[in-house]
C-alpha cells in the first residue's frame, strides 16, 4: 500500500448509535485514544454528520432510530461511506428475534464495510477504516 497516495486526505468519521449495547462505542473510542492513535493519519471523530466522510453505525437499528439513521445518512455529503460495526448491525446478532428491530443496518441504508465482532477489537475497526479508505479513493478515482 502506498501511504502517500492513499492518505492524500484525512478521513473524518461520524459515529451513530442505533441502539447498541455500548460495547462497540467504547471500542470505537478506545480505537481513537493513544494506544492505537489513528489521529496521526488524520482520522478523527467529528460531531456533525455534515463534516464526515465515513459513518460508523453500531447497533441493530431499533424501531425508533430508523428514521434518525436515514436522516443522518442523508446529511452526510457525497462521496460517503458507511461502516457497520459489530455483529448486531450486520445480522441482528444476539438480538436477532427482537420485536423492536428495523435492522440490520443494510436494510435501512447501504453499507460499504462490515466489521464483525461482538464487539470488534480496535485493530479490526482500524482494518475496516483502511478498507473504507481504499474504497473512498477508488470512488474518487485516485490511483493507489
Amino acid at each position: 500500500m502506498k501511504l502517500n497516495a492513499l492518505f492524500n486526505r484525512s478521513l473524518w468519521v461520524y459515529h451513530f448509535n442505533s441502539g447498541s449495547c455500548n460495547g462497540c462505542e467504547i471500542e470505537i473510542v478506545a480505537t481513537l485514544t493513544p494506544r492505537y492513535d489513528p489521529e496521526r493519519f488524520g482520522i478523527k471523530l467529528v460531531g456533525s454528520p455534515r463534516h464526515a466522510d465515513v459513518m460508523l453505525v453500531t447497533g441493530p437499528v431499533v424501531h425508533r432510530m430508523k428514521d434518525r439513521l436515514l436522516r443522518v445518512y442523508q446529511q452526510i455529503p457525497d462521496p460517503k461511506l458507511v461502516m457497520c460495526i459489530g455483529a448486531c448491525g450486520i445480522s441482528g446478532g444476539v438480538f436477532y428475534d427482537s420485536y423492536n428491530l428495523d435492522g440490520p443496518v443494510d436494510e435501512v441504508i447501504p453499507v460499504d464495510v462490515y466489521v464483525p465482532g461482538c464487539p470488534p477489537r480496535p485493530e479490526a475497526i482500524i482494518h475496516g477504516v483502511v478498507k473504507a479508505l481504499e474504497k473512498l479513493e477508488r470512488l474518487e478515482g485516485v490511483k493507489a
Binding site: F16, N17, G19, S20, C21, N22, G23, C24, E25, I26, E27, V29, A30, T33, P34, R35, V46, G47, S48, G59, P60, V62, H63, R64, M65, R68, V72, C88, G93, V94, F95, D97, S98, Y99, N100, L101, C118, P119, R121
Partner: protein, 409 residues
C-alpha cells in the same frame, strides 16, 4: 428555531443524537437566558426488548444475552442474573468461583471508572486528560482480556460458576497491573482534584442534596457522593464480598465534607479505583483452591434449571450502583418472567434536580456525572408525547387520589 420571535423561556431540544451524548436520549430544556429553568428527558431510544427475548431462551443462553445488555458493565448483569437463577435452582457456587467473579467484577469497576473519568474530562473540554486516562485504562483491558478472553462482553460468568479459572501464571500479570494503578492513583487524583479548571467547573455544580438522593432512590457513586452510605458490597454482600472488608467510599471520609456536586462524584469514583485494587489483591491472596463451576456439563445444568420453580433476585453493586435482576421460573426451559433494573434507571431522575438552575454550558458534565448507561436502562419503550410524562411524587399522588375517586364513582 423558526423565524418568529420567541420570548423566554426558550425550549432547547438536545438529542436523541447529539455529539455531547454518547447514547441516544432526548432532552428538552426550558431556558431563560443561560439558565436551565426546567428539563425533561425521554429515554427508551435504545430499547431492544431484551427481557422479551430472554423469556424465549433458556438460562444458559440468556447469560450471553445479559452480557450484551450493556457493553461497559456486562459482568454485572450476567452475575446478577446467575445469582437469581442459582437461588431458584438451589445451585451451590464453588467458593473459588465466587472469588474469580469478584476479581473480574472489580476489574470491570476499574475500567468503567477510568472510562468515566476520561469522558468527564472530555465533557469539560480537557481532552488531553481524556487521552491520558484512556491510555491507562488499556492496562485493565489487557488484564481483562488475559483473564476472560475478551476485552468487552467477557462471557466469563455462567450459571453455577465461572467459565475460566485464574491460573498461577496469571497472578504476576494481575499484580503488575495493580501495582501500575496504585502508583498512578496519586497522579490521577492530583490531575483531577488539584486542577484549578476542574475545581472551577465541578465544585458546587450539579448539586444533589442528600435528601434528594434518598427521595429519588439514587444508587451507587452518585448516591455516595451525596453522602448516602450505600454499597451493596458492604450492606448485602454477594459472591466473595462477605469475606472481604469493603467500606463504602464517602466524600466526607476523605475530604471532610460533602457537597454532593460533580467534584464529589469524581472523588468517589477515583478512590474506588484504589479500593478495587485492594479488593483484587485480597481476593488473590485468599482465593481457595477447588473447582470453578458447580456443574461442568451444560446439558445437566440445563436440566437442573428446567426443573426449578420459584423466584429469585440477584443484586449486584455495578460501577454505577445497584443492579437488580428478578427471575421467575415455572419448570420450563425459559423463565416465566425476567425483570432487569439497571443502576442508571434509578439514577436518571436525579438529573432533574441537578440540572434545574444550572447553566447551559454545564449540561454535558452534569449529564455525564451520574455515568448514565442508557443501553442498560431502556428496558421499556416509553411513549412520551407531552411534557406531563415525567411526574413528581406529588403528581403521582394526586393522580392516584383522582383515580381512586373516579373508581369510587
Amino acid at each position: 428555531m423558526s423565524g418568529e420571535a420567541k420570548k423566554a423561556p426558550y425550549r432547547v431540544p438536545i438529542g436523541p443524537n447529539h455529539p455531547a451524548l454518547k447514547e441516544p436520549v432526548m432532552f428538552t430544556f426550558e431556558m431563560e437566558g443561560e439558565v436551565v429553568k426546567d428539563v425533561d428527558f425521554a429515554p427508551g431510544q435504545a430499547h431492544r426488548g431484551i427481557e422479551w427475548m430472554g423469556m424465549r431462551r433458556n438460562p444458559v443462553q440468556i447469560v450471553h444475552l445479559t452480557d450484551r445488555i450493556c457493553g461497559i458493565c456486562g459482568v454485572v448483569h450476567s452475575l446478577s442474573f446467575s445469582l437469581a437463577v442459582e437461588q431458584i435452582a438451589g445451585i451451590e457456587v464453588p467458593e473459588r468461583a465466587d472469588y474469580i467473579r469478584a476479581i473480574v467484577h472489580e476489574f470491570e469497576r476499574i475500567q468503567s471508572h477510568l472510562l468515566w473519568a476520561g469522558v468527564a474530562a472530555h465533557e469539560l473540554g480537557f481532552d488531553s486528560l481524556l487521552h491520558l486516562t484512556w491510555r491507562v485504562r488499556e492496562e485493565a483491558m489487557d488484564v481483562i482480556e488475559n483473564l476472560t478472553g475478551n476485552r468487552v462482553n467477557y462471557g466469563i460468568v455462567q450459571v453455577g460458576g465461572v467459565r475460566r479459572d485464574i491460573v498461577p501464571e496469571q497472578h504476576p500479570v494481575i499484580e503488575k497491573c495493580l501495582a501500575t494503578y496504585e502508583g498512578l492513583l496519586d497522579t490521577l487524583l492530583s490531575f483531577f482534584l488539584d486542577d484549578r479548571t476542574i475545581q472551577m467547573r465541578c465544585r458546587d455544580v450539579g448539586v444533589l442534596s442528600r435528601r434528594d438522593a434518598l427521595e429519588l432512590c439514587t444508587v451507587g457513586p452518585t448516591a455516595r457522593a451525596s453522602g448516602v452510605n450505600v454499597d451493596l458490597r458492604q450492606d448485602y454482600p454477594y459472591a466473595a464480598y462477605g469475606d472481604l472488608d469493603v467500606k463504602a467510599i464517602l466524600p466526607e471520609r476523605h475530604l471532610g465534607e460533602t457537597h454532593g456536586d460533580v467534584y464529589d462524584r469524581i472523588v468517589v469514583r477515583l478512590l474506588e479505583v484504589g479500593q478495587s485494587c485492594q479488593i483484587i489483591r485480597q481476593c488473590l491472596s485468599e482465593m481457595p483452591a477447588g473447582p470453578v463451576t458447580a456443574e461442568e456439563k451444560l446439558v445437566k445444568l440445563l436440566a437442573t434449571c428446567k426443573k426449578a420453580t420459584g423466584e429469585g433476585i440477584g443484586r449486584v453493586e455495578a460501577p454505577r450502583g445497584e443492579c437488580l435482576h428478578y427471575v421467575r421460573m415455572e419448570g420450563k426451559d425459559s423463565p416465566a418472567s425476567w425483570k432487569v433494573k439497571a443502576s442508571s434507571y434509578s439514577n436518571l431522575m436525579s438529573w432533574i434536580p441537578m440540572l434545574r438552575g444550572s447553566q447551559i454550558a454545564d449540561i454535558p458534565i452534569i449529564v455525564a456525572s451520574i455515568d448514565p448507561c442508557l443501553s442498560c436502562t431502556d428496558r421499556v419503550a416509553i411513549v412520551q408525547d407531552n411534557r406531563r410524562s415525567i411526574l413528581s411524587k406529588d403528581d403521582l399522588h394526586r393522580l392516584s387520589v383522582e383515580k381512586t375517586r373516579r373508581l369510587q364513582g
